[in-house]
Symmetry: C2
Subunit: 307 residues, 2 copies
């Protein structure tokens, strides 16, 4: 299977300036920009957890998602993507067409973000589908953006909208790579994280790493239409705001930005097609709080997907 | 599960000079030596294919193997290991003790080869165990050792012995990292590959990449005692020589070495505890041939594990 698949793949792999030795040897060799550090992240997606192969009309979306969530992690570090390696554990039935579909889903995304396919390992087995992607990028002149740099007084900015990703958006992830690089190059950012497990949960991780607290403005949370739809369809599942806080898999960025810089950013709205919103502020007081429509401040319990 | 596991793991992860940002952020950041290139490889090991979890008295050996086979790929490139990321798909039953065993198996090996654990992704699911490791290394001043550099007239040298790894050695892989670095630094090597799928099959890959052929001396193949044992136990499975040629998972090195340099190497035997043997020569004539005890030359069909 692997031999046949690799022949199919070889015709579809673009060359890449960073790749000195591409797939085909025992390992790939790539060159970083001078004085850049290497940034690396990995995510393993499994059938029944991150997707349901049997229910998907188009398995290419799995390939897209597997690459996109890794690129989103590079975006959270404001790192420039360079290359990925991809390992597949394929069910024996239909292994080849599944592998091809996965790559057909991820190759266009890799091309769009100038990310080389540096190698991989393609296996068949008696288990369900699992796909592991390791992405690596390089830091820019401004270094990596960490989740630990938020300071009391900083504004909490987010890209895009939150909630209801399970209705489909979780498969069609649009990693905020270009946005992160653009903002990191042109504005002062103190910290960044991407929202994989839930807006409130990932924000709480930033608070822990940065040793500060936050107060959110309930009326300022950009709620995705899918969150409203979920709340309508299943009222017992929570309000649309609760979906926005806890659903996860939005793969938007949370940024800590000095307040004057945040004003400039919100005025500029420099991102093409992606709105920046301020949802609150970092505070000296630890913990996560929310101000509701009536101006009442209540503790907010961080919710989201715990692995 | 992941939260509890990460707390357990955090106490066991050594710091590493190359790691600027370790596990805990969206991605890790590591620094290469000045002017070094980054070398990357990945291997996914799955239950029922690369190991049998239910039959193993000591699942730590799976963790050891998963890291070792990746380090072996870095060795084949004569690259210095720096860091790995590790993704686990764990069966829900006993996920935590399995994860701990895997790490108990790989952490001592990582420490021995000064390899940082830069990050990972730990998941539970309804499927069997799968473990994906991606290893990063850096090239030395002499650059990477490729499989494509063998030249007609070069000697074919190998480390160690071959065959019968299924009797146990395939789990206790000893990656030839130090050996590859020592040889690459002190001798002229034209090409290298590690034997994962079979001595004859991996050699044939080197021939294809190097666009040459090879003639092997049947009497010079270092046959492991396990290969003799297998041939005795199951005569129908082939001779010990056939086991040496085709069993795979030996994780020894095949090296292409200019003939005068090979003489020096064989005289020096510079590797502590690992014997170097010449098993034949590269030839202009394409294809793989064997000279048997009686001096007859016959074509040798490359055999091994095809994925």
């Amino acid at each position: 299977m692997e031999t046949e698949f690799l022949a199919w793949l070889a015709e579809r792999l673009p060359s890449h300036p960073c790749l000195r030795i591409g797939p085909g040897d025992d390992a790939a060799v790539f060159r970083l920009a001078k004085s850049a550090d290497c940034v690396v992240t990995t995510d393993l997606l499994t059938d029944g957890v991150d997707f349901e192969l049997s229910k998907l009309a188009d398995p290419r979306r799995i390939g897209h998602k597997a690459l996109a969530v890794n690129l989103s992690d590079l975006a959270a570090m404001a790192a420039k993507p360079l290359a990925v390696v991809i390992s597949l554990a394929l069910p024996r039935a239909n292994a080849l067409p599944i592998a091809q579909s996965l790559y057909e889903g991820l190759l266009p995304l890799a091309a769009r973000f100038q990310t080389a396919i540096a190698g991989g390992d393609t296996n068949t087995w008696d288990g369900p589908l699992a796909i592991s992607v390791t992405a690596f990028g390089e830091t820019t002149d401004r270094g990596p953006l960490l989740r630990s740099g938020a300071q009391p007084g900083d504004a909490i900015l987010v890209t895009g909208q939150f909630g209801g990703s399970i209705l489909g958006r979780h498969l069609d992830v649009e990693p905020r790579v270009a946005e992160a690089l653009q903002l990191h190059a042109n504005y002062t950012l103190h910290a960044g994280i991407d929202v994989s497990d839930g807006l409130s949960l990932d924000l709480s991780r930033m608070l822990t790493a940065s040793n500060c607290g936050a107060t959110l403005d309930a009326t300022a949370i950009p709620i995705a239409s899918a969150a409203h739809e979920l709340a309508r369809q299943k009222p017992a599942s929570g309000t649309s705001l609760e979906h926005a806080f806890g659903d996860g898999e939005d793969f938007e960025l949370i940024l800590a930005v000095p307040s004057a810089e945040a004003e400039r950013l919100l005025r500029d709205q420099p991102l093409a097609g992606v709105k920046l919103s301020q949802i609150g502020n970092f505070t000296t007081e630890p913990g996560l709080r929310m101000i509701d429509e009536q101006g009442r401040v209540t503790p907010l319990v961080a919710k989201g997907y715990l692995h």
